[in-house]
């Protein structure tokens, strides 16, 4: 028996191919069954996200299976270029790869946490499809445990990784729960849209939109469920809203210090957070000197994001060290398992009668192996 991994990721393939190979949850049992029949896999877990599609399978140890797995994964689409972008790993290398994926070390944004949930989900689905066994149970529980450990023991997932997520984090540091906060968007643009989406996901109370072109404001208001106000009455938006997002293409300042100062008089001391992602800038820089007013421009935000990404990169080595340790631990157990060494196996998580893992203890943490 051999543990094999075949897959592709954002590192090896463009988004079109990842999309093409992605396995919807509904199709999963079919694929698992097919892999079992063609490649003789006794255990299979499929990890399919927007950044990667990977098949982890325990198969007979012969030269054919790798090729069969490649064909299964790519369906009828397998051509030369696609074949080149698929990677195949075995045993320890496959283990290390999964551990790195779960730790967020193989992600586009180092240390991001979504992938850990996706690994968990993939494992759950495989369990439900009845395609896990001793090896994949121990492997995936270990990967999930390690993914958590890496994020608490290192600073790899600390700090903002994008301008929109930083904008939301800062807004939360000023207002706390954003569900009572109002957002005022001035101008449109891809970055503004991303930031609005991020803020909307925090269920803000209200959204105001103004644009030099009235129709655009209307369209954006419709899209995000807000209301449009005339561009000339933007000063009123400053009174009503708590978070102001500026991204007009105007050549000059559209919000002056005076505008904000006058709005503050009517805000009764409530904090005002202005995010100016326009270039050239939309908001007079001296606005930041006003009381209870916080102004961040695109440079402020981007330098903070860059800083936090650098800090994350500094933690990679530490995280890799943890991955190495756990890979070696697993490898030792894996060999013992292959050899049927019951003394070492005793420390493995207990299994229930049907072979599925009963070891998923509190919080998904498995105490084995030490």
């Amino acid at each position: 028996m051999k543990l094999r991994l075949v897959g592709l990721s954002h590192r090896t393939a463009p988004v079109e191919w990842r999309e093409r190979l992605a396995v919807p949850e509904g199709r999963l049992p079919v694929l698992v069954e097919s892999i079992k029949n063609s490649a003789g896999a006794v255990e299979t877990v499929v990890l399919s996200t927007c950044n990667r599609v990977e098949v982890y399978a325990v198969t007979p140890d012969d030269g054919e299976t790798e090729c069969l797995l490649r064909k299964e994964l790519s369906g009828l689409h397998l051509d030369k270029t696609l074949d080149d972008s698929l990677y195949s790993l075995e045993d320890d290398a496959a283990v290390r790869h999964l551990f790195r994926v779960a730790a967020g070390l193989d992600s586009l944004v180092i240390g991001e946490s979504e992938i850990l949930g996706q690994v968990k989900r993939a494992y759950d689905l495989a369990q439900r499809a009845g395609s896990t066994g001793k090896l994949t149970n121990v492997l995936f529980q270990r990967a999930i445990y390690l993914g958590k450990k890496v994020r608490t023991a290192t600073k790899i997932s600390e700090g903002p990784t994008s301008v929109p997520s930083l904008a939301v984090a800062l807004a939360e540091r000023i207002f706390g729960d954003l569900s009572t906060s109002r957002v005022f968007v001035l101008g449109a643009g891809p970055m503004a849209e991303m930031a609005v989406r991020a803020l909307k996901s925090q269920k803000v109370a209200d959204l105001l939109v103004a644009n030099r072109t009235g129709e655009k404001a209307e369209a954006m208001a419709r899209q995000f469920g807000g209301r449009a106000i005339p561009f000339d009455r933007r000063a009123e938006g400053l009174v009503e809203a708590d978070i102001v997002l500026c991204s007009t293409g105007a050549p000059d300042v559209v919000i002056t210090r005076n505008d904000v100062a006058r709005a503050l008089e009517r805000r009764r001391g409530k904090s005002l957070f202005l995010i100016d992602i326009a270039v050239p800038r939309d908001v007079d820089a001296s606005v930041n000197d006003l009381e209870n007013t916080y102004l961040y421009n695109v440079d402020d935000l981007e330098s903070l994001v860059a800083e936090s990404l650098v800090k994350r990169r500094d933690e990679i080595q530490k995280a890799d060290g943890l991955v190495d340790d756990k890979t070696n631990e697993f490898a030792a157990w894996y060999r013992a398992w292959l050899a049927g060494d019951t003394a070492t196996l005793r420390h493995a998580p207990a299994e229930s009668a049907d072979g599925s893992a009963a070891a998923e203890t509190k919080g998904g943490i498995v105490s084995w192996p030490n």
């Binding site: 608490t152 984090a169 540091r173 000023i174 706390g176 409530k270 009381e291 209870n292």
Partner: protein, 306 residues
């Protein structure tokens, strides 16, 4: 009795100190389990500490010729009560802003006050500090004289109420400090990870205001009862007493806080500074003035009323 009072006090003190250490470690490591443990420790310590004060109060009120409520008039017991109330109001604040590092800003005050109390005990009976508490309580009981003015019930309520106000203002001070640090970080575009563990600025701003709204009525009623009690007892010229004078200054500071915050619309940094200034007056009134006041000069007489 003194043995129990001292034991409960000692364990309460250790609990607070441990909770403070955990709060600091939590701020540095972001380990939520430590935060939860610290909270439980704090609640436990507050219970032990309350029990210690209850035992002391009970013993005092059963001593022939003494009335229980003169208990608070001693320096040791007043520090102890002050610290307990700080912790209780902090627990209220923590309830409003859970999982935050506010403890780092508030708990040092409580621990400091109890350390002062311990120091007094240690100076009176220099054994190990914890054994000293029992000795000290015995000595204090043996040497304590009844105050010149027999305390009435109203003057007795006056003291805990004033300390409730002081404790609220101490919390407002600690949170005000945290606010100013958080505000500076965001304003200067240098938010740190540590800052992310503070409650949101608006949350802290409201919390300070609400805590002042607890403290101010307590102070008002406390002062009125003190004044009324002194008049009823026909005591010496309390109006000229520096402590009374400074208490009025304090009352003015917090009244202006409330008016500026709720009527004029001041918020944020300015009111945070006001909460800092107010607590400065509290400290001066509590400690500084005691050296000059005949009526409230707890320090001159080593722990007993003059």
């Amino acid at each position: 009795m003194q043995r129990w009072e001292a034991l409960l006090f000692d364990f309460g003190y250790l609990g607070y100190a441990a909770a403070l250490v955990l709060a600091v470690v939590y701020a540095l490591t972001r380990r939520d389990d430590l935060m939860a443990l610290g909270h439980r420790l704090l609640v436990g310590a507050a219970l032990l500490h309350s029990a210690s004060l209850a035992v002391g109060l009970w013993a005092e009120s059963h001593r022939p010729g003494h009335v229980g409520y003169a208990f608070w008039s001693q320096w040791f017991a007043s520090l102890s009560l002050f610290a307990l109330l700080i912790v209780l109001i902090y627990l209220f604040a923590q309830h409003r802003a859970p999982v935050s590092i506010l403890g780092v800003f508030v708990l040092p005050l409580a621990v400091f006050l109890l350390t002062l109390a311990l120091t007094q005990a240690f100076l009176a009976s220099p054994r190990c500090p914890f054994a000293s508490v029992e000795d000290f309580l015995k000595i204090a009981d043996a040497t304590r004289r009844q105050p010149d003015i027999a305390p009435t019930f109203w003057t007795a309520v006056h003291v805990p109420l004033i300390f409730l106000a002081y404790a609220a203002f101490a919390n407002a001070f600690g949170i005000g400090l945290a606010y100013l640090i958080g505000e500076r970080q965001i304003k200067s575009h240098r938010p740190t990870e540590l800052g992310y563990r503070l409650p949101a600025l608006e949350v802290m701003d409201r919390l300070i205001a609400h805590i002042v709204l607890i403290g101010f009525p307590a102070l008002t009623v406390g002062l009125a009862l003190g004044a009324g009690g002194a008049r009823a007892a026909g005591g010496p010229g309390w109006a000229g007493d520096p402590k009374v004078l400074w208490s009025l200054v304090m009352w003015g500071v917090y009244l202006s806080y409330i008016v500026l915050r709720y009527v004029v619309g001041w918020r944020g940094r300015r009111t945070a500074y006001l909460s800092l200034a107010g607590f400065g007056v509290v400290l001066f009134t509590y400690v500084g003035v005691s050296f000059f006041s005949r009526m409230h000069g707890f320090l001159q007489s080593g722990g007993a009323l003059p």
